[in-house]
Amino acid sequence: MKRSRKNRKKCRFLKKVVGIAGLAYAGLFAVYYYDLDGKLLYYVVEPFLDKHYSAMERPDATKTPYGAKESVSVEAENFGATVDTTGSFGQVARNAAAGVKVGATEFGKYGEPKPKLVKVTM
């Protein structure tokens, strides 16, 4: 007797779960078919988010100083060009700062990081 009552309870519970899942499935199908997700996003969510992003306070990126890269700007000033100071090109910038004009490079063997500098008569 006890078991059958338990079974009946289980059955009822299962029926409820299946019923709710079935309703949710049908409800979601209505959302899908009538494009209700699209309409919600288009008419409600997007205008709300658009206002939010437009009202957001943001730091003014254009206030970033041009010379923030100290080493680059100082070295580059010497020969009037922007040079990357990282990796092998650091040497280019240092040589340039020391008065060597950079006009062309000869390529070394692969794996040698430093290009050979060639003086150019201006």
Partner: protein
């Protein structure tokens, strides 16, 4: 026995039973109802009674000519009065395996990335491109998959699922690393992530995989947003013009710089690797990015004439210098074994891509539509190998094999086989879906798909380096667009190879390089007697040439030159100016 093993056994048993029961049930159903196995709306024998015809329309969906897809739109918005009824099976497939599955897939991808949920929500609140562009992603599926049926619907949708999961993965990587969302703190992951311009091939970083992350700078905040919601990018274009940039340079470069002007870019890496691909407009973008980011930068150039033998040595040295830069900045050594492992995995994908092209070129069985082919290919080849791509390819291969084995005509209303050339309008990549539905123009292949078509040798370091240099040069737009006019004329070769009889020629009005060859193309089209229509556009900026104007151009060509009638006249003219 674990629960998972039991479940798998049950699944196998269920599949065996289903296979046996299916034909019996189908046979019984066919006796009672007016349906035939393997038939479609266009091939089924019409029922004799009115009720039978109604049932057939419910089961198969309306015939192509009776779909009236244009009548489904709410004017101006691009929203649907109701989504398309594709027949019972395809509608249920779309609902279950595309709409529900992809919403679920997005949530599960976020949950699988440990600790990503809260940063993801914060990122949605913080970044305009995230909230506005990616929430309506399922509408992007709708636009691109409109009118698709059967195996074409399935295979194309898996491509979009792959792209979506890749986007969500990158979003999770962005937001879990981002200093802006982490009170300015540099996390361990931040110090292990490489930022590089979206046009630097992800394959470059195979030697550092599993030790370092690498995220393309603009792929998610710019490139994919234009496809999902074309309004968002306009904010960034306007922002960079607001600080004095003239309006006529490439709007892609403008938008990429505008993200920084509006401070709408995650801060996720201690370094930046830039490149001059697609053109010197990208160099200008990199200068602005360098100004705003102010951190160690490596400029990784690609030669403007991409296959010039004289520049190959230099290209190889640049690849090595890039690797050295990563080594120096992150203190991580170049790992040859990792390179071999990932290059070989990537090679498998390239081989499968060639198999796909073979089917596309030589049979009517190719189950991927034009926009699915274009976007999936450019996304995976640019970002590099990932497991999710391999999973997607495995699924698509099954579908494609089925189509070939059973000789399924996947796009049966094809009137012309089209090759799309040059770079496409990002705000209307779905034009080829529209063109098929309206005119029967089947875009078989496009230029960007043909990039990176190179197997990477892994036998010796020298060969690997040489191939990496070539691979890096075969980037989108450099190889065939602005890489020299003789390369862009590879069109004739590919047109023949893919058995195409028509060209959709993109005309990026703000690309100075491509504008220079318009006249040459006109001459060649005339001399060769090739049918070609031009698609003018301004890459991400829909304000220059609207979607509606693009459609009008194609309509005019089809009416006046081809003297053909549309398959679905409701698609000729509709207003989607304010749609996503």
């Amino acid at each position: 026995m674990s629960a998972l093993t039991q479940l798998k056994k049950l699944q196998k048993a269920a599949a065996v039973v289903t296979e046996k029961v299916k034909p019996v049930v189908a046979g019984a159903v066919e006796k009672v109802l007016p349906i035939e196995a393997g038939a479609t709306a266009d091939t089924a024998t019409p029922a004799k009674t009115a009720a039978g015809l109604k049932f057939q329309e419910f089961w198969y969906g309306p015939k192509h000519e009776d779909r009236k897809l244009g009548d489904l739109y709410i004017p101006g918005t691009g929203l649907y009065k109701h989504r398309e009824w594709r027949g019972f099976r395809d509608t249920m497939y779309y609902y279950n395996m595309i709409w529900l599955y992809n919403y679920g897939s997005i949530v599960s991808t976020i949950m699988h990335n440990k600790g990503a949920l809260i940063p993801f929500l914060k990122g949605t609140w913080r970044y305009r491109w995230m909230g506005q562009a990616y929430l309506p992603v399922l509408h992007w599926f709708d636009r691109c998959l409109e009118g698709m049926r059967g195996e074409t619907l399935k295979a194309s949708a898996w491509h979009f699922n792959g792209i979506t999961r890749a986007v969500v993965t990158q979003l999770c990587e962005f937001f879990t690393t981002d200093k802006n969302l982490n009170h300015g703190k540099e996390t361990e992951k931040w110090s292990k992530t490489i930022a590089h311009k979206e046009t630097v091939a992800g394959a470059t970083f195979y030697p550092f995989r599993d030790e370092l992350y690498h995220i393309p700078l603009e792929m998610i905040p710019y490139f994919v947003t234009c496809h999902c919601n074309n309004h968002v990018v306009l904010h960034y274009i306007d922002a960079v013009q607001g600080i004095g940039l003239p309006g006529d340079p490439c709007p892609m470069c403008q938008a990429e710089a505008g993200l920084f002007v509006l401070n709408d870019m995650p801060d996720y890496s201690p370094v930046l690797i830039t490149t001059n691909e697609a053109c010197d407009g990208s160099v200008a973008t990199a200068i602005l990015q360098d100004w705003f980011l102010n951190r160690p930068l490596f400029a990784f150039p690609q030669p403007m004439r991409w296959d010039d033998p004289l520049v190959q040595e230099n290209c190889q040295r640049e690849v090595e210098n890039c690797w050295k830069f990563v080594e120096e900045q992150f203190g991580v050594k170049f790992n040859w074994d990792k390179y071999v492992e990932y290059a070989e995995k990537a090679n498998k994908m390239t081989l499968f891509e060639r198999e796909k092209w073979d089917v596309a070129a030589n049979t009517p069985n190719y189950p991927i539509n034009g926009v699915g082919q274009a976007l999936y290919r450019i996304f995976y080849s640019q970002w590099g190998w990932r497991q999710l791509w391999a999973d997607t390819d495995a699924r698509v291969k099954k579908i494609m094999d089925k189509c070939v084995d059973r000789n399924i005509n996947t796009l049966p209303k094809t009137r012309h086989r089209v090759i799309a050339w040059s770079c496409a309008p990002l705000y209307y990549s779905a034009w080829c879906t529209w063109a098929y539905n309206c005119w029967g123009l089947n875009t078989v292949i496009n230029m960007d798909s043909l990039m990176f078509d190179k197997l990477l040798r892994t036998d010796t370091y020298e060969n690997a380096l040489e191939d990496m240099a070539w691979y890096n040069e075969m980037a989108p737009m450099r190889m065939m667009a602005v890489g020299g006019h003789e390369h862009i004329f590879m069109l004739w070769h590919y047109m023949e190879q893919f058995n195409c009889d028509m060209v959709a020629m993109y005309d990026q009005l703000q690309c100075k390089g491509m504008q220079g060859v318009v006249g040459m193309f006109e001459d060649e089209f005339r001399a060769r007697g090739i049918h070609a229509f031009w698609i003018p556009h301004a890459l991400p900026d829909k304000r220059t040439v609207s979607r509606k104007e693009i459609r009008q151009r194609i309509n005019d060509y089809m009416f006046t030159v081809m003297q053909e009638e549309p398959l679905d006249p409701t698609l000729l003219d509709f207003d989607d100016d304010n749609s996503w």
